[in-house]
Symmetry: D2
Subunit: 315 residues, 4 copies
């Protein structure tokens, strides 16, 4: 079976919904915690479910906020608050004092990929102060030790992100890792409007910059919470989607009827291969992103960092 | 006649070449000034030529350097040198002392659109020194007064770029304006490999950020030299190109023969409209760009600023 | 009379307080609008007062918030709110719809001087939207047209800041100009803790970067509100202050008594000249700033932009 | 014995020269490799020499280039070339293929401390390519594997720089580490004009940002070459120097004769203590830097990165 690339479990699931298929080993739960906000939990519970979904077992929580693109401070604060609640469900933040390393993945110099580094820039960092001045430095109920790193991308460092992170973990031994990353979505309508939080870490090949290695409990030895926002669509995906729309349209348009029928006889994979061959050879190394991506990344990185700060340091 | 968007005269011209049409009022001259480098001059000489090409009358000089993406300092210095030569042809740099305003168009915060601002950052600025300390401040043969501005984009300033530039021109009265801008190309294979220099200024709707107003001698009162490098392709163009490739492929592939025939019966404009309707509604506000655009923009902005510096201050 | 450089009217005034002198033509009023916050209004009402204070006639309102350096969001929101109130006193924001140009003065590339540009980056810009979509684009009670510009510094542009601003004003004709600038204080203890708002604009020679020309109603033709935060102390001032402390100490220290007496016999101006001669020649082009200036500028620029946004667009 | 802070061995040595003292265990050699350029080697050979100089045993090579502040490309290329030669003396670059980690120390967000990060940004990174495509990827005589990291500062990461670097070293096991850092000088006249290269690594307390831990062969297990440029002077130093100048001046000025005599009776340490007490309490956390530090850091970071690139990849 062919799979157009998406980093969102929600989109992977939707595919089957469209086909009216129930996927065994995958549960879905939807909530509306606020006006104009949807939280969907996709729980992949069995290996079979994981195989079908093309994603590892675990919890994928998606916060959809269609107006996230607008400048409305109260709405953004509410998103931050929801994000904080989700993080508190996935980690024992309210049960004990944790040491947490925040990892801002991505390339600071490429606007849609700068989300992770920018979130890291806005974190409330406490580890060095608590280690120097003791637990009561802040006078909080729980003194979580927060540290953060922006490892950069391989073209800048010559090292795998995983090498850098594993090294830092060995030296500083936190309890949890939270990785923030810009994702690739299947559809432009999700861009900058969706936050995915998962306890399965980062899969190989996900993110705007295509990490080669997984960043998860198996690879680094501690639980990895990943927070992602789709900021780009693969260029190949855009073209492929249009083709599919075209075929659908043809099937219902008299004049194009015959064409449509013939194309729709092609297998999915055949169609995909056809498109891939026809694409200009560089298109695999390209992404599609909105022209005002600077504004979106600026606002969203602030909303996410606020959410994480709220989870650990409630005011 | 429908026109897929390109800011490059070379690409506009190529369209007709493919059709084996000679365009009246348009002359083309090609040179190979160095290994792996082509300079093409498209001279649009009549109103008729301008109409057919969809570009104003004037000279469009394109420097193609296929290895511009590589890191080879000598090659880049040679590109800078060629750029300097072209500028000296278009402006009386070696005949008299000029006062020139360099305008770095585009949005500094969006990587592929940051080319103009970054070139401006690297300019050798002399106006304030010559005005303060006199002509002999630098002891050069010709003491050109160079100033520069990065006007930002409308979403940041609330003002048209043209308003800002006209204001600055009124106060400082330079002889020439050089505008540097990131462009949209028709084909991904031109990205970051082509420099277009023209004496017709910037047309409305060109550039990554879609300027609403023309920036040319007519609108600002002094000659405007524009230097552009294509760093993005419109998302719509990518899809449209693939469709065309598909149709060509179909016409020659047995199995898809009938489909191909039917689609190729559609008029160009019909096909384009069809695609446009099928595209997701946001795609117009999106662009396609390479994942390593940060490296390209960094290197190219340096190559261009060096070229301009060489033109005015030969060492 | 010699004057060590300060951009703060409050500090200019204090000098005389220390000497127990009442300055004719200068009124001072102090308020405590909140916990840990002082608002002082220095009104220079006559030419004589202006001469003595070394500052033009007008209102100088200083908001002192000693904990501004701390990270306390509620405290910062309260500072923003106070700033909004002060702006509403100085401009008819609640009486009519205004067109206002925000000018972010200073050098974005030098951390303590980046305050103005960063405030401009965070402004809610509305002019282009209201002009395009009409008064009801935002559905607010008053639709103020906000635009903004970051003119850069002379070493970057080759132009006087005043030339750029005058040009932009001629083209866009706003009613008011708000200039934000990083200031030089007399004392390190004021750094990053004080906001000065004045209706007299920017004086020549003020700011971290030493603007050569005044930016005020006289020079630009519309009222200029200036918002400044001291982020540096002149290097010369630091040395001079220490000398004065030394002398005071000497006068009361037995062992150094004689020395102290002799030095204190020197006239103020003589002492200043003496110091100036002894200083290394470059010191005039240097400033003193805290090592964590990056954090302060980041936080303060946000607090100020929030204050301005609140003044024009109350939520 | 009291020591005003300097990170430059040259300045530590000069102190004794002024006193006409020969320091045992310390050798000094001076060369003039080019017009307007001096290379001084201070070799601290014994523990005694180390104690007196306040610096660990090893080689300290200082490249002084008084015109480094000017914009002269040829001069800067010559400085890069000299730096490359010095690096080739300190490391077996021409004897075998090395794996080298470049560490850009300092705070990217504070202009004078951004030198290290900016040098790292411009490095030619090869490790990932050689590891993926093999030794002959570049077709060079020696395929050195260069990687780089910008660890940030403790306020940003919550971690000691040393923790991050040790972790990365454990995972990637390079042969050498090159650390680039902005330094504090004793005198403003050295700022941005001097490059110190040493094989002793970074001492605790050096650099603009005051690293707490040493970064040297002892602490990290591989040889550490440090490259530093002084970009700031400690605020305390500036004041102290002026005081000393004052005293000298007094001793030779009739009118102030008596004062001078009395002050000069004070011990060095007494004078220093006196000054320290009189300084405003925050001054320890402040630095002095030139107003045009942005231009200097931009240019110098390029000159240094070129030098390192030349050392490893001669063209």
């Amino acid at each position: 079976m062919y799979q157009v690339r998406t980093d969102l479990a929600l989109e992977a699931r939707e595919k089957f919904e469209n086909d009216n298929v129930e996927v065994k080993g995958v549960k879905v739960k939807e909530e509306k915690p606020g006006k104009n906000m949807t939280v969907t939990k996709v729980m992949i519970e069995t290996e079979n479910g994981a195989k079908i979904m093309g994603k590892p077992r675990g919890n994928y929580i998606t916060l959809e906020a269609p107006d996230m693109e607008d400048f409305d401070e109260d709405y953004h604060r509410e998103i931050s608050r929801q994000l904080a609640e989700i993080l508190k469900e996935l980690m024992p933040i309210e049960k004990k004092e944790l040491s947490v390393l925040i990892v801002g993945l991505g390339n600071r110099e490429v606007t849609p990929d700068a989300l992770g580094p920018r979130v890291a820039d806005n974190m409330m960092i406490t580890r060095h102060i608590i280690r120097k001045f003791g637990k009561y430095a802040f006078g909080l109920k729980r003194n979580h030790q927060i540290s953060s790193i922006v490892p950069g991308v391989m073209a800048q460092t010559g090292m795998e992100t995983l090498e850098i992170i594993k090294g830092v973990l060995k030296e500083t031994r936190p309890d949890y890792l939270i990785a923030i990353d810009a994702l690739a979505a299947r559809s432009t309508k999700r861009l900058n409007r969706t936050i995915q939080i998962t306890d399965t870490g980062i899969s190989p090949g996900s993110g705007v910059g295509n990490h080669r290695h997984a960043l998860n409990e198996e690879s680094v030895g501690i639980p990895v919470i990943a927070i992602g926002i789709p900021t780009v669509v693969d260029a190949v995906t855009i073209v492929s989607d249009t083709m599919n729309n075209l075929v659908s349209a043809m099937e219902t348009t008299r004049r194009l009827e015959d064409i449509g029928k013939s194309i729709s006889c092609l297998e999915e994979a055949e169609k995909y291969e056809l498109i891939r061959e026809l694409l200009s050879p560089n298109l695999n190394a390209m992404f599609v992103t909105p022209k005002d991506i600077d504004e979106s990344v600026k606002r969203l990185s602030y909303t996410i960092s606020e959410g994480i700060n709220m989870a650990f340091f409630p005011m």
